[in-house]
Amino acid sequence: MKAQALRRACFVCLFLPIANITGGTQTFSDRSLFLNAVKRIQGEQQALTFDHLIPPLSWDVEIGPSLQVSNVTFAGRFLIASRYPEITSSGTVLYNFDGGGPLSISFTSSAVRAFGADWGSIVSQHASFTATLTLDSASRSLFNRQRGLKRRSSVLLRTNPL
């Protein structure tokens, strides 16, 4: 049953903000635009994937309630790293399986000035859904009706530390 749901996975194309000089936010719908904007931000740039978590010849791996990758901690009910082609056209996703609450991301070391990712969800009964990213005390709702993760988008950028 879950496999069927995975085949219907719907990834949102989130439009996440980028802070400008005045402390406001700017929105991106395309990762390449985001990466261009990131060049203006001083700091150490880092790309993180979950590819290394899955052994060869496997499609997924069960992780547990939390995962730390390079000083970034992900927490949910039960996290699974998966690269099933029904979910993602490339790479590995981290999946909050049957969570009672949202996926949380925290940073255990130096301040983060920008954060971006491709975000999605399994919404087999719904053609679309509203996703929400909450940063500190500010919330931003994001939504999209596009299925699949073919399009590279969904990024968040701030000049102030998260």
Binding site: A5, A9, V12, F34, L35, V38, G43, E44, Q45, Q46, A47, L48, T49, V72, G76, I87, T88, G91, V93, L94, Y95, N96, D98, G99, G100, G101, P102, L103, S104, I105, S106, F107, S110, A111, V112, R113, A114, F115, G116, A117, W119, G120, S121, I122, V123, S124, Q125, H126, F129, A131, T132, L133, T134, L135, D136, V155, L156, L157, P161, L162
Partner: protein, 60 residues
């Protein structure tokens, strides 16, 4: 420093359940790097602190 990503917990909502099924991949982040000037100030402050400690311990 943290953020949360929520899909609203709508998976299986029709069956009376409200599961979150968020996914993400291909993360890109920019970390703050301390400025050299900040490091210099930190070094001077540490030196002053150690000097004060040394003077306190020194018998008069």
């Amino acid at each position: 420093m943290s953020l949360t990503f929520s899909d609203g917990g709508i998976f299986n909502a029709g069956g009376g359940f409200f599961f979150h099924e968020e996914m993400l991949k291909d993360i890109f982040l920019v970390r703050e790097v301390p400025e050299p000037a900040s490091l210099k100030i930190l070094f001077v402050g540490a030196a002053m602190f150690l000097a004060r400690l040394w003077r306190r311990k020194k018998p008069s």
